[in-house]
Point group: C2
Chain length 251, copies 2
DNA sequence: CAAGCAATCATTGGATTCAATATGTATACA
DNA sequence: TGTATACATATTGAATCCAATGATTGCTTG
């Protein structure tokens, strides 16, 4: 904490938004808890005006919920909510892949994606996947998904995917780290990478339906990872965002 | 204009948001045009603080775009953007229908949808569809889509569909009025209503894939309507939201 | 002793003020 | 005559101030 350098380049609103989001995801603010504006002013260092702006943005982002009587509270998510968010993201990415395939992504535009694919191949090839390799995979995987999304060349769709991926547990790389400690880790990684290969191939060959289907299935890997991690109750500390999970019927 | 009664029940922010949205959709503010906060203060009657809140919300809603140097401008949409937004909404509604089917919507929950279906049947049956019947159809159709969305029983999905339908030209009833004056009007209405019937049947029979497919195709009717209306250049005045359309390469 | 009402206090929503930056214009120089 | 620079002005972003509403606590009464 205590990033008190005023960092003139970024607005107070953005700074407050980042600080509050961090507090929410790391569990500093519990789900259901009402957020005090005054308290937020203290912890973020910004004034009340930018804090309120940040609260509005976080509500639109889906992390906060407006209280009818005024103010905001941290939203609580059920396991079902998270699984649905993943399926939703997969559906949108499937649509993006289909658009890319049907509209004929040019070879020039496909190039960065194929390079990314090759880089991922390098990482996945070595058998005992090191900690750093996993971390690098997370980064490259995020890049792959971002490139694929852009390949749809559809501004409205890109926008929606970004919004859907904003929830950390719905993002493409949300649960990769969770699996890193599982025995099935390498297996899952290989399968995921095969999906990547297939979607690129499908786009190249203009197979829209195939591209769409594989991206949907690809997202379900994340759902499997989540369930595995939750059931084995191990290394949940790798997933700070899980502080937002709450069983449906809790105050 | 001039709703100056202070209507204490609703917040200034909401009032400003509604007023600005109206100005945008009716073309009072042209796409690409920078929105002056002072001017907005004048036209909406609210102070600068709620006006700025409203601007942030409208940006998240997708009607505005942030200017890097500060402030907001009205977003411009291409015809392609609108068609994609419709396809996107159809995809999401398809997912909702699939969820409803696969998870077994109870007979009790299906009841309101079937009633709505029956009401729509009444409206569609008469051959020369009157102006009022069309208007009633728009309302009932919106209700049908809302009920179907809720039937998914998935909060994240409902949220996303609402967001996607917020753009007026992507909403389920966005282009129904546009077709009302076309010669094919009744035909299209009958086909749309058949889609409604099919999706209810599919959900009842737990046919997830069928339910999903028909909702996707259903949305494409809206795309057809839009293209017909644009090509025939007739009755575009029925679609005020089209003020936002602009060819890609315009200042 | 419990329940209801009233009063005080805290907290949010809105208004105004202040400062910093971006934009536009005019002038001067090349 | 065109371009660049400097200055003036307008506009946004932030902070403080004010008002109104909702919550909490204590007191009174049944």
């Amino acid at each position: 904490m205590a990033e008190r350098e005023t960092d003139r380049s970024v607005s107070q609103t953005v700074r407050a938004q980042l600080a509050l989001r961090d507090q929410i995801l790391t569990g500093g603010l519990r789900p259901g808890e009402r957020i005090s504006e005054l308290q937020a002013v203290e912890t973020t260092g910004a004034s009340r005006t930018p804090v309120r702006m940040a609260l509005v943005r976080l509500e639109e982002e889906g992390l906060l919920e407006a209280i009818p009587s005024g103010g905001f509270m941290v939203k609580a998510f059920s396991e079902r909510d998270i699984l649905d968010s993943i399926e939703l993201r997969g559906t949108l990415e499937g649509l993006a892949a289909r658009f890319a395939a049907e509209r004929g992504a040019s070879a020039r535009n496909l190039e960065p994606l194929k390079e990314c694919l090759a880089d991922l191949d390098q990482l996945v090839r070595r058998d005992p996947v090191s900690e750093e390799a996993f971390s690098a995979y997370v980064t490259m995987n995020a890049r792959f998904h971002a490139l694929l999304t852009e390949l749809s060349a559809s501004a409205p769709l890109i926008r929606q995917i970004d919004r859907a991926s904003a929830l950390p547990f719905a993002s493409p790389s949300g649960f990769v780290m969770a699996q890193s400690k599982l025995p099935e880790a390498h297996q899952i990684l290989l399968i995921a990478q095969d999906h990547h290969r297939i979607v690129v191939d499908a786009i190249e060959n203009r197979e829209g339906s195939r591209a769409e289907a594989v991206m949907r299935e690809h997202a379900r890997l994340a759902a499997r990872n989540l369930r595995l991690a939750l059931r084995s109750r191990t290394h949940l500390d790798l997933l700070p965002a899980l502080a937002l999970i709450q069983s449906p019927g809790l105050a």
